[in-house]
Amino acid sequence: MGAIVDSLAGKRIAVCVGSGGVGKTTLAAAIGLERALDGGRVLVCTIDPARRLAAALGLETLGNFESRVPAHKFAAAGLAPRGQLHAMMLDVKRTWDDLIARHAPDRHRQERIYQSRIYQQLSSALAGSQEYMAMEKLYELATERDYDLVVLDTPPTAHALDFLEAPDRILDFLGNETARQLLAPALGAGKLGLRLFQLGGSYIARTLARFTGSEVLRDLAEFMASFQGMYEGFKNRAAAVRALLAQPDVGFVIVASPSPLSVEEALYFHEHLHAGAMPIAGVIANRVTPSLWEGGDPLPGAETLDPVLSALGETGPGLAVRLARTLAEHQVWARGDAREVRRLFAEVEGARAMVPRLESDVHDLSGLASLAAWL
């Protein structure tokens, strides 16, 4: 077992975080597979509509429900899992709808919220909505199912902070009493004639209406009114999610690629998780170009390679030149990657793993298994 797998032993929740395009989804699946092979009942929950992941797991598609990876797929990959591997893809809109259904006092209120234009945007397009729902789904899976391990692959956030702050931001909005009072008079405005003046005598509301148009404010007021009484439930649940994430059986796994930007993001994430007392299980540097030229010797030039090639009877137009150039280029990448990995590992706590750039994409369970061997 590697450092990351070790550090996740005994954890019930693993949350993979990192910037987009670093291979988070695949690594989340590899972490899940490893535990399933080891006897755990595991669920991997992704937000990335990556068909390749579904294919790699031997599933037709991934949906908003938990599908079990079939035994014959394991057999075909020469793997004999002692546990079970399940996977699903988070459907943000559905998760919102379920959440509303859970908290709405009655069917009527539920429908009223579903119909709201503000809700429709909130649930599908509002920045942070995905992040909030990922957390929400995680809580549901962790508390209402009996998996030994749930691996959550988080959405590729535009900003690392979104992930932890989005739930609070959205909740604060939903429960903002001042905003509610500010808007309350707008509810009195009839459907006809956008009577701006009815936004109370509030100077602020009137000025805002100049900015957004009064209809928008009225929609918003209606939406907030329909949320009345539900806020406590939402807030309690969000607090529970927060508490859950700080528990010792949770492990955050930070994933980075060895590029300056990705490492910056990872370090920022690390700092933020640390400040929030979130348990960090480890850091993975993914797709690292391995060095092929160790030691301090200068890289061989064409003039060094040429006689060796000739001695072996290998010739080709400029073959020695091309070989020398290729190795030199490779080492430029390897040195750059090593520099970034050092920078990353120097500042983080917990387990560390370095996964080399694989020679081809992961396409199946055996590919995932060999990836897991690096963790």
């Binding site: 590729p156 535009a158 805002l208 928008v216 092929l292 072996l312 070989l323 081809s360």
Partner: protein, 312 residues
């Protein structure tokens, strides 16, 4: 592609999956335009600023700054755009301060769906259509847009608002913004991809969304970081045997084998994306550079220029 060539358009939108090199391509396009004597503005959208540093200049922040002669950069943030927009609508700073600097209101504005996107896009598009003494303020505005999903969200905002918001100030703004975004004489959206599986899949889906959802005129497909085919198939077979040789040959053969395999896979994905996305394609080389800065941008700009070569 119908309409004027890429660099003759006013508004160049650049997007693609995270980590494919959007910023480098944006900077390269800006550099080419500036060297052709145009006044250029590059907008980053609420990002950790990259363009100015890539060009060897200090970060611009939220104020427009000249990074190289004729080439300006800015980082467009929701807060600053909201402030500028608010001031434009409300005219008086005192009113703005009284209302917009109110804690609750600031908060509340953040939560109005799409408002942050609207004001950021508004700021960018405002720059793209602004005129000063009878001529455009900028010949070219390059937008280093967010990654795929976030970019679609951003560019959809005017259309979404037109669907959901009745008459009013928001709708009026949404209208002119949509008109500019959809104008093939002024605007083009280009996609950057890497010749790898996930970026290619995402690019194909993105292109479909551009056509079916956004309707924004399409520009160029940039296939970034394509390794050259350096070894023939026969040579590859021989290299595989040479990997077992002691240094220096063994490691060199190993590097060559990796390069050859990577080039082959990349070639396959490049072909796939070019077949699936019917846009003029510009292929950009994979660079082996120790530092990613102005030199990289210049070399990419050369390749962009060669790739655009009259076709776009």
């Amino acid at each position: 592609v119908a309409g004027p060539s890429l660099l003759d358009r006013r508004l160049l939108l650049v997007t693609g999956k995270g980590g494919v090199g959007k910023s480098t391509v944006s900077a390269a396009l800006a550099l080419l335009a500036a060297r052709a004597g145009k006044r250029v503005l590059v907008c980053e959208v609420n990002a950790q600023e990259r363009i100015a540093p890539l060009l060897g200049a200090p970060p611009a922040g939220t104020a427009i700054r000249e990074a190289l002669p004729g080439l300006f950069t800015v980082n467009v943030t929701p807060q600053e755009s909201m402030r500028e927009y608010g001031l434009m609508v409300l005219k008086f700073r005192t009113i703005y301060d009284a209302v917009f600097e109110n804690r609750v209101v600031r908060y509340f504005l953040k939560a109005i769906p799409s408002l942050a996107e609207l004001v950021m896009l508004g700021k960018i598009l405002h720059e793209a259509r602004a005129e000063e003494s009878g001529r455009p303020r900028w010949d070219v505005v390059v937008v280093d847009a967010p990654a795929t999903g976030h970019a679609v969200q951003l560019f959809r905002v005017p259309a979404v608002l037109m669907d959901t918001v009745p008459a009013g100030p928001l709708r009026r703004d949404a209208e002119w913004m949509r008109d500019l975004l959809l104008d093939p004489g002024r605007t083009a959206l280009s996609i950057v991809t890497l010749p790898e599986e996930m970026p290619v899949n995402e690019s194909i889906e993105l292109d479909a969304q551009v056509r079916e959802v956004l309707g924004i005129p399409r520009g160029v497909l940039f296939v970034n970081a394509l390794p050259e085919i350096r070894f023939s198939p026969a040579e590859r077979e021989r290299l595989a045997r040479l990997e077992a040789e002691p240094p220096p040959l063994g490691p060199a053969a190993r590097a060559a084998a990796l390069q050859a395999r990577r080039a082959e896979e990349a070639g396959h994905y490049a072909q796939r994306v070019r077949a699936a996305v019917d846009l003029p394609a510009a292929v950009l080389p994979l660079l082996a550079l120790d530092q990613w800065g102005l030199e990289a941008v210049e070399r990419i700009a050369e390749a962009v220029e060669a790739g655009l070569g009259g076709r776009s």
